[in-house]
């Protein structure tokens, strides 16, 4: 499937910000696999959450083409 992804913080620095990604599969797990292949530096982060429609999403969550998908590297507010 094909989705549009936005990234913040160091994930934005690595990916360049907004990107369109085409990958095999339908879930967050598939998305991650494709992302790590394309941007190996992402796997060097202490953590990387994926938010789908403004909710943290586990690997099993199914994606849809018009979902709001955002890469969230380690948070450090406060």
């Amino acid at each position: 499937m094909k989705v549009r992804i936005k990234a913040y913080g160091i994930a934005r620095d690595i990916t360049g910000g907004t990107l369109d990604l085409e990958f095999d599969g339908q879930t967050v797990a598939h998305l991650r696999k494709s992302l790590y292949e394309r941007y190996p530096a992402l796997s060097g982060l202490a953590s990387m959450m994926v938010a789908v429609n403004q909710q943290y999403a586990g690997n099993e969550v199914a994606l849809h083409a018009d979902d709001e998908i955002v890469l969230i590297p380690p948070v450090s507010g406060g």
Partner: protein
Amino acid sequence: MIKITEKTIDVQKVIETASSLGAGAVNVFIGTVRNHAHNKNVVWLEYEAYEAMAVAETRKIIDDAAGRWPLLGWAVSHRIGTLKPGEVAVAVAVSTKHRKESFEACQFIIDRLKEHVPIFKKEVFEDGEEWVGARPEAQPTAQLN
């Protein structure tokens, strides 16, 4: 009030928003930019937020806190953009009837905020910059002895 703002945080406003006539206690936490980190001088910090989700996640934390302690008022304001040492990055205030619960609820909110809310901080030093917490903790080999 949950606010993500590029403007200087008005701490007095945060306190007033959280206050309540029925409350006997207000606890306020203010996170400020330190002038050094990792033994290096911090020139400035840059904060960015995934704003819509940051507000939604903060709201969840407040709801969770309100279920644990009888909050009479609360307010959270987080700064984004470029901050110099001494500036306020975040202010959290809660009011409750009694003081113990005001401390507990305020600490709960700031602890959770730091763990869950999608806000990102970059420290800019004289000789480089670093996204805080982004990399797994490196063992500083120079200090292993």
